[in-house]
């Protein structure tokens, strides 16, 4: 059963759940959790339907809904998906569902937690579906509020610092985006109506841009404004410093959402907004973007090597992996790299989600995440060690697991355009292997630390959250076509548009 306005339902179903939770009496915390779970199930079902029905050969937008919202500014409630957004929508639906289950052990301010979580879910799906710049911006900013509280209230010891740092950094990017958005609004005239427009499909048409928007310095400034805004979110070095703090302090499920979905919004924003609106600048800036990607890959990997906190290690590994996405997205001479980049966005979402869930498992038991504080855990928790091994090998790009394919595609594609950068970037893979294997060795192998000799094995609930992700990682490792099929047509179109 699929409703008519399927995307709207996917966006607002969690919000309805959040509204219901507000009316549950305080003495029924479990009921609140159940409502939250039920609010994420229909979007998952609809996502599966979308996956089946999505037309792989159409490079335009599908499931489009367009209703006037604010006539005074010609703002529309305009949503739809194409090949770039559909993997992200699927990923969000899946991770939201799994994260509600992963949050089952939240027992403090249950109502607040799940209300905010569902609000976050709504804004995430909204960002990936919005085709009106203003609507996009509203969803983009809406995400900040729940995130601030979720880190700040339910987070670790330094949660207040981490929460405000996250908020401040992201807001700098957003306000820059706001200014650029308004410049585009006044710089464009819809041919049909003679009004200014926020419609991304219209703004992508370079013919609607007014003379002043065609001037070179304005375009450069606009591109830079957008790029910094998105780079903070991705995050690219040197805009990354909020991420390790936010990850370390956030509760497990929120780390999963943060790494799995929120970081992708940066690269998604580049693909959805920067490239179509300013294709000439995207091309001119490509080399610098590739260098940003390279620096992130190496710097992230080197920092990860020095970490003793597991969450911080994964946070830095995220920076490194997102660097591959950036590198792949800066290649316009072929479509291989950009396909790899979008596939990497999806794969990193699943793999990092696993990694954070796994760290959450051990943290719940040992109440610390110090890599050197464990040893020989493989003896006490063999199943857990198995899952972790899979996730680690996936993250370091072992052939046969999903990340290998996406990273390989990125490198193969980018080698044709940036030889030296690509060769240097490859060393990032070696570093990644080094820190993951070293961590593996310190935590699971070696002599057993007696303090943890009686740690209970991974529970059924935890295994339930990990298994779907593990299956996807293995499946896409052998056969990536399910995702590549979805994205290929649209990306070909995107590259053609940028190259001109």
């Amino acid at each position: 059963m699929v409703p008519e306005h399927i995307l709207s339902w996917m966006i607002f179903c969690p919000l309805i759940g959040a509204g219901l939770i507000l009316f549950v009496p305080k003495r029924y915390p479990t009921l609140m959790k159940v409502i939250a779970l039920l609010a994420t199930v229909p979007p998952l079902w609809w996502a599966a339907n979308l996956y089946v029905q999505f037309d792989r050969w159409d490079n335009g937008f599908q499931y489009v809904e367009k209703v006037p919202w604010i006539k005074a500014f010609n703002i529309h409630y305009f949503i739809g998906i194409d090949g770039i957004s559909i993997p992200m929508v699927l990923l969000t639906a899946l991770l939201a569902f799994l994260c509600v289950i992963a949050s089952w052990n939240i027992n403090e301010y249950v109502r607040g937690y799940f209300t905010l979580f569902l609000l976050l879910d709504t804004s995430m799906v909204g960002v990936f579906c919005a085709l009106d710049f203003f609507l996009f911006y509203v969803f983009w900013e809406l995400m900040l509020l729940p995130m601030y509280f979720l880190i700040g209230v339910w987070g670790g010891p330094k949660k207040e610092y981490a929460a405000i740092k996250f908020f401040l950094f992201t807001l700098v990017g957003s306000v820059l985006m706001l200014v650029v958005m308004l410049v585009f609004y006044f710089g464009s005239v819809e041919p049909a109506t003679g009004l200014h427009s926020f419609d991304l499909t219209i703004l992508a048409d370079q013919a609607v841009h007014q003379a002043f928007l065609k001037s070179h310095p304005i375009r450069w400034l606009c591109y830079l404004g957008l790029f910094i805004g998105f780079a903070i979110k991705i995050p690219l070095v040197p805009f990354h410093t909020w991420l390790p703090d936010a990850h370390v302090e956030a509760p497990t499920a929120i780390s999963v959402i943060l790494a799995g979905v929120l970081l992708k919004m940066g690269t998604y924003g580049l693909l959805r907004i920067s490239y179509p609106l300013l294709p000439d600048m995207a091309l001119a800036f490509a080399l610098y973007a590739a260098i940003f990607g390279l620096v992130s890959i190496l710097y992230g990997a080197l920092c990860a090597m020095a970490q003793t906190d597991m969450k911080k290690l994964i946070a830095y590994s995220s920076i490194s992996h997102m660097g591959f996405v950036m590198l792949g997205m800066s290649v316009f001479s072929n479509t291989t790299a950009i396909n790899g980049a979008v596939l990497q966005m999806f794969n990193h979402g699943t793999v990092t989600a696993m990694l954070f869930l796994l760290v959450g498992v051990i943290y719940d038991r040992a109440h610390h995440r110090d890599i050197d504080g464990f040893g020989g855990l493989a003896k006490t928790m063999p199943i857990y060690a198995g899952y972790t091994g899979l996730a680690f090998f996936a993250a370091l790009g072992l052939p046969g697991l999903s990340s290998f394919i996406s990273e390989a595609l990125v490198l193969v594609g980018s080698f044709q355009q940036y030889k030296i950068i690509t060769i240097t970037a490859t060393t990032g893979i070696i570093l990644t292997a080094a820190y993951f294997l070293w961590t593996m060795q310190r935590v699971f192998l070696g002599p057993l630390n007696n303090k943890y000799a009686k740690l209970p094995e991974i529970s059924l609930r935890e295994a339930f959250t990990l298994t779907p992700l593990a299956l996807i990682v293995i499946l896409l490792g052998f056969y990536p076509m399910p995702v590549l099929d979805l994205i290929g047509t649209t990306l070909k179109h995107t590259v053609a548009m940028v190259v001109g």
Binding site: E141, L142, L145, L182
Partner: protein
């Protein structure tokens, strides 16, 4: 022998100042009731009478014709245009909320309660007259009615030293700046030979061609600015603001931050647009040649918002914090004036409406917490989120709206202001304002952090009366509603200019 025509037109004109007359009557009734009743017992009576008076003052508005800039009355002292039509109810709403907040607060005790209510009505009347005036003399009279009575309001707690100090500071500053403004008026009068704004505007256009008259004009503009920047609490006449806001009773502070400030901006629009600019291409104005006041104001705007926001960071007293935030917001609002376009004017009016609700909301919470046994210091908000969730969620929404985050009304207001300057291609100001938003996030979040992220140190239970909850709710609805769907208000402000 007075000609019959004159009498007739004046009699007709009286219906236009119906709201003011009804307010004056309400004040007199309140005065009499205050003498008859043992006032220390009947707080509710005064509140109800004042609210009835305010509601009654809106009734004549229904009967009046469609606003038109050419519709002047009472010997061209007043004009019945959209600005007048819009701001009269605006001030009534502000005054009504302030009276309701004041009713629940114990800061002004029963002895002074009836006077404070009368004074709020009187200031409202002054503001109404101010927005309607088109004559320099009338503008000055109304300006001083509003000003002097608000000095009294600030100092109404006669036995409180801080209140007295605040009032004195306010009076000294006010006297100086309004004197300066009056001098500016006299210069203009000397130049034009008339006090009517329409006639002056024609003379000013001619005078700007002569070099020696132009110097006079520049001096007049600068002197005008003194009065206006004082009322709106903008740089460099903002120094009174934190002290006065801290010393005054909180409901009165709330009133000052929305009422006279909005009146100041209405006066900005009333004076600067007809006098010192001319309508250019569609929807845009141009400053009179050689008189580059928009650039001066753009600078003032940037300095005001930056200064307000930076100074607010270190405040631990919430009233002082909101005072500096109010300075910053004056800076944002000036962007709309600087933009010199219809969009700019719309953005100012839109923002003022939004600001009315969110700022009154924030002050209403401050009043609530203070009268429930807390203090105005940020540390007394620690952990309040779990003890008074409704109040704190409301406060958080008001503060997020003040920052300008969607989906709250403050965001839309900011979009309007940003749009106005970007339309005019003053990008640097837009970027300064955008970065200021980030700075402001930090200090507003200090309050949110105290409420929700920190654990309480002192176990005060907050009892929120049903009435206060209703007031908060009434302020929350527009703060949220206008953030999600603001087309109705957008249509209203588009119709104005």
């Amino acid at each position: 022998m007075i000609p019959e025509e004159f009498i007739k037109s004046n009699l007709q004109g009286i219906s236009f100042i119906g709201p003011e007359i009804i307010l004056a009557m309400a004040m007199m009734i309140l005065l009499i009731v205050g003498v008859i009743l043992p006032y220390w017992r009947y707080r509710l009576v005064f509140t109800i009478l004042a609210l009835v008076g305010l509601a009654g003052s809106l009734l004549p508005l229904w009967k009046l014709p469609t606003p038109d800039p050419s519709l002047t009355y009472l010997s061209k002292l007043f004009v019945w245009d959209w600005l007048t039509f819009f701001f009269k109810p605006f001030f009534v709403v502000a005054a009504a909320f302030v009276i309701l907040i004041n009713h629940g607060s114990r800061e002004i005790d029963n002895v002074e309660y009836s006077e404070s209510t009368i004074l709020v009505l009187a200031v409202t009347m002054g503001m109404m007259l101010l927005v309607a005036s088109t004559d320099l003399l009338m503008i000055y009279l109304a300006f001083e009615t509003m000003g002097i009575l608000s000095y009294l309001l600030v100092g109404i707690r006669a036995r409180d030293l801080r209140s007295g100090e605040a009032a004195l500071k306010y009076v000294l500053y006010g006297a100086f700046t309004s004197g300066t403004m009056l001098f500016g008026f006299s210069l203009l009068f000397g130049l034009a030979g008339s006090t009517d704004l329409l006639e002056i505007s024609q003379q000013v256009a001619a005078a700007s061609q002569h070099p020696q008259d132009k110097i006079l004009l520049i001096v007049a503009v600068i002197f005008f600015l003194a009065g206006l920047l004082f009322k709106t609490a903008s740089f460099p006449f903002h120094f009174w603001c934190p002290d006065v806001y801290e010393g005054a009773p909180t409901p009165i502070t709330a009133f000052l931050s929305v009422g006279p400030k909005a009146a100041g901006f209405a006066l900005f629009i009333r004076l600067f647009y007809p006098l010192f600019s001319s309508a250019g291409e569609t929807g845009a104005y141009e400053a009179i040649s050689g008189l580059d006041w928009p650039s001066i104001l753009a600078l003032v705007s940037a300095i005001t918002m930056t200064l307000g926001n930076l100074a607010a960071i270190h405040q631990n007293n919430l009233k002082r914090l909101l005072a500096y935030s109010s300075i910053a917001h004056a800076g944002y609002l000036l962007m709309g004036i600087v933009a010199l376009s219809e969009l700019g004017l719309r953005s100012v009016v839109f923002y003022l409406v939004v600001y009315l609700f969110m700022n009154l909301g924030a002050f209403a919470v401050v009043t609530l917490v203070a009268s429930a046994g807390g203090s105005e210091e940020i540390h007394s908000y620690r952990g309040l989120g779990s003890r008074a969730p409704y109040v704190c969620v409301a406060m958080a929404i008001f503060l997020f709206s003040l920052i300008g985050l969607p989906p709250f009304a403050g965001f839309v207001g900011k979009v309007y202001l940003f749009a106005a300057v970007i339309y005019k291609k003053i990008y640097w100001l837009a970027v300064v304002a955008a970065l200021n938003t980030v700075v402001s996030l930090y200090y507003y979040l200090r309050v949110v952090k105290a409420m929700f992220l920190e654990k309480s140190t002192e176990p005060i239970q907050i009892q929120v009366s049903f009435g206060s909850q209703v007031i908060l709710f009434a302020l929350l609805v527009p703060t949220l509603g206008l953030g999600i769907y603001w087309q109705p208000l957008a249509s209203v402000v588009s119709g104005m200019f």
